[in-house]
Symmetry: C2
Amino acid sequence: MPRVIKHPELRREELLNHAQALFLTHGYDKASLNDVIAAAGISKGAFYHYFASKEALLESLAERFARQALAGVQDVLGDPALDPLGRLNALLAKSRQAKVETAAEAWALFETMFRPENLVLFHRINLAASAAFSPLLVEIIRQGVADGTFCTFDPEGVADIVMQFGMATHDVIAKAFAGGSDADMDIAIETLERRVRLYEIALDRILGLPDGSIRIGEPGYVRAVMTARRSNPSVGADAPPSKNREPGRAPLRRP
Amino acid sequence: MPRVIKHPELRREELLNHAQALFLTHGYDKASLNDVIAAAGISKGAFYHYFASKEALLESLAERFARQALAGVQDVLGDPALDPLGRLNALLAKSRQAKVETAAEAWALFETMFRPENLVLFHRINLAASAAFSPLLVEIIRQGVADGTFCTFDPEGVADIVMQFGMATHDVIAKAFAGGSDADMDIAIETLERRVRLYEIALDRILGLPDGSIRIGEPGYVRAVMTARRSNPSVGADAPPSKNREPGRAPLRRP
DNA sequence: CTATTATACCGACCATCAGTCTATTTCTCA
DNA sequence: TGAGAAATAGACTGATGGTCGGTATAATAG
């Protein structure tokens, strides 16, 4: 095959992009290394020149996700006009927004990320995101406690709960997706909206605020995003990446 | 090899036991099917006579976990002498206790379950446990809301939060274990105790109860369990299950 | 401009893994 | 006793993640 040499950073970025697409659409386990290198148009040797393992590729991907998410949020912390509650709300809104928009295709993200086979991928991304966001959250909560806005004895713990709430949407949606029908989808959206409202009030109370102080996202936000994407069937209709035989299918044997 | 025929239920149970041990000590992914059947002393054919796939084995294992956990908790719901708060506390205490005692070796559970490679296993067990416990939780919370003890608009959501809190210990411990030293261990225990206190108060507030109403476990419980096990080094010193070469180690090639 | 070295890349090869298949032994019960 | 069903064995398969010796290109030195 023709040997194409590219700038290492570009190659690396390309690899990450193709890996991201494949991992999202088919899951970390099901997308094989061969699929990734085929998509990127390089050899095995080249891949292992850039990443020590498939696992390392996943790790780098998660880090990049976290980095991107963090980048879109930095300004919030620096704004001196905001009080702790304002900062917290701004951070939550941004993070919620970023969660949907980080992937180019919001619908693809929803349809593929929240499937059992993406547990590992999702967990890694959230771990990285958590590591990136937690310090910000803790700082904000600390400020709030200091000036009397919030009331809790464990800012780190509360920050973790906030991250948990963010991650929990995964299981809520995954459970609903298990059904598959449009009706199930509707229920999933309804449940998610309701759950977000609950998380808001739960956070209010955990932080000792009056109900309604925390605002993660406006009502109807999830539905708006998902129904908008729903009508665009451009994603998810692609071919399977590898010749994986389905479990249960027998390969032909010698005659 | 000698052909030993056992009662199917016994065989199945044995398979589950060996699989449980291997999955716990080495992780679902790293423990291969060959390891499992070697430990159980049967052939591939025999294994696939009992389980459709490795995945199905994991599923059965998770179901057994959930069944066992549920069994130790059934009496709580039937006790008419308890009010909703009493029931909730009893359920939480039982579940916390069960979480430690289900596995024969508590220390092994802690040391091995809370490692990255056990994410899948852990998630499956918790999914099954959640499916089993959630209805009970929802029912208790509903009762509490009905008689005015609790105050929330989304019993299912609160039940999910309770389960989340239970699962969250995983990441708390896993993060601390990443360090590895005894000092890290101490910090992990401290953090976990603190986190449990936070969860108690968080639940109080989410349910509209005065602080201190919810009691998941007595202070010092985690430390007591873990330090007791600490002095018994009988676990975890076993040989690797397969001849997995470490990543990075080169196998000898043709000369 | 040539020699040398570092870097990017190739692709055949390997061990291992989950899963399949055929064959054989044992159990069941008519 | 004999036939069919259940249980077990183990060789085999395609795919997978990973390794290795080698090659082509870029960068640098002489």
